[in-house]
Amino acid sequence: MLKRRTIKFLVVFMLLALAFTLIAGCGSGSKGKEESKATDSKTVKVAFLGPLTGPNAMQGVGARNAFKLAIDQANASGKLPFKIEVVDLDDASNPGTGASVAQKAVADQDVVAASGHWNSPVAEATIPIFKSAGVPLVIWGAIRPTLTSKENYPYITRVCPTQQQENLPLANFVINELGRKKWAIISDTTTYGKSNTEAWKNEVKKYPGAEVVSIDEIQVGQNDFRPILSKIKAANVDGIYFGGVVMEAALVRRQMVELGMKDMLMVGISGIVDDKFIETAGKEAAEGIIATKPGKSISKLEGGKAFEEAYQKAGFKEPYGAYGPYAYDAANIIVEALKQVGPDRNKLVDAIAKISYNGLLGVTSFNEVGQTTNVASTIYVVEDGKWVDWDSSKYKSGERKLPGSK
């Protein structure tokens, strides 16, 4: 026989449980209603997705800050009939996590547009989710070429250039103008690194006499590159192409100097154009490193000064990083589209795809697959501890000589 007390206890427990369910149910229900009412007059949500934790947090947080800055500016301008709220979601550079947060974003009916991702695999995972929910996604940092495609248009657009678009001018510059022909490639095992290896190999092939002597793949988070560098030193190349991101690049350069390879040219793409590179590699070691970055240099851009000042003023702790400006423009493009058609997912998809927006990076518009047509690129070189536009550097004028110059 059951004791009376046990039954009583169970009954009370069940009642409590039911009460909880009701409260929780009503709570979320009524909240939902209130907010949807509010949508018409007050708040619109825009999702930002990126790596806010994990190994690439540096990139994600910088871009998030820039994104928020743009939205805050739009809210402060008072030109919008509603307030925009940023929902920032951490994809942790993990496709599974990315898919999960993307589900979360599209489940919230108030989220009308999203901007996301630094990692291409994460974007691959979330694109179907945004597509099926009909939420426009503006990619700010993932550079794998296939992300934007006919199937994904018009839902998916991208403000940053693809890897192919990045490597092309750099190869032309170092092989044709500088005449360096024998290359060693070091890149990381991420998508970013692997597609850089691919792109660089293909570019080098185009030039007669140029060749790739060795390819080494490293892990992000690896700290010791001396074995690889010792090997490359013995192979006597004209330069090292680094297809990875800031920290590993800085360590590679630092250890090159340590191993007596200071007089060897090192080049990279946008992933390493960051003050952190110079800081970590050391001012002297970094001298004469060449890298390319899409778009014109911030200082040359019309709004560049204003952007930097605003960023400083907003009091963000972290630097905006290599992709901050893209996230900034992505945010502004979404705001612009919101201005045009209001907070409606379907209308926004078309509005964004057809936009022509004059922002920080210049005029951005998207081609037939949603890829930005704004792909001007600039060659940078490190001079006295700063990334300097090649055209205005002492190297171009011949006052200084690049590592390995005869």
Binding site: T53, N223, S230, G260, T280
Partner: protein, 307 residues
Amino acid sequence: MSLVLSQAINAIMLGCTYSLVGIGFSLFFGVMDIVVFCAGDVAIFAAFSITALVSIVGLYAALNLALPPFLSTVLIVIAGASLTGVLMLALYRLVIKPFENKSALMPLLSTIASGVALRELIGIFYPQGRNPQTFPQLLPGGALSDFAMISWRNLIIIVATLLLVALLYLFVNKTKIGLSIQAVSQNREAAIMVGINWQQVVLITFLLGGFILGIGGFLVASYYDVVRFDMGSMYGLKGFCAAVVGGLGNVYGAIVGGLLIAFIEVFVSAFVPGGTAYASVAAFLMVVLFILFKPEGVIGEKTIEKV
């Protein structure tokens, strides 16, 4: 030839960094019969503490006003290592002691979890902790000679490792407490029977182990010039492998194990075409084979299981 030589030097340096963590693992395992899996994270914690002392508190600059740079470096390293010694004690009290005499799986999991917690705490509370931090250059960087590129720093790292091992040897074999540690690690019950204060031995082991891990963290960070909040997991895993290859519980075996793993990694990435990506695979594969076919380690003796 010089390529092989320079790669060998790379390997020895890497091996030194692995073996220090390996020694920590072996010390704890010998005395407590448990694997303290957060050792790598504890070492990295030391590196972060030293970074903080130097670049945030400005201790190095302050000390340099009164002392020669060498001495202030030593002081700071001792401060950092003592901090990890205390941290190790705290960890023992919080996440290891509750599992005494329970399934061996539990302290393993709890230390893995505390390793994650330690990592995350650094990431959250250290200013910009999730970004890699440049490690202050406390050791002189200049080259000793052009031949095979031995720098002062590398020399110091090797000498410091050897010195540490020598001191450990003296401590364990010549002091009363050291002998107690040895006794406990050989046979705990017997040691308790002859009146050794087991609790005290355990505490001292953890203090000592934490101290060694702290110095290991300092040396590894100096070698890499950089510290990352999540560096401890891989570093700890390699250190554990070093300890196992050397024979778990055998402090000196850990050095051999560390060198072996480092040599495999370096030579695979240097001399196998396209081998860089497979360096870690090769190292781990070797560890697996070792465990399967020579579980007592390189210099361990085979024991017969009593039924």
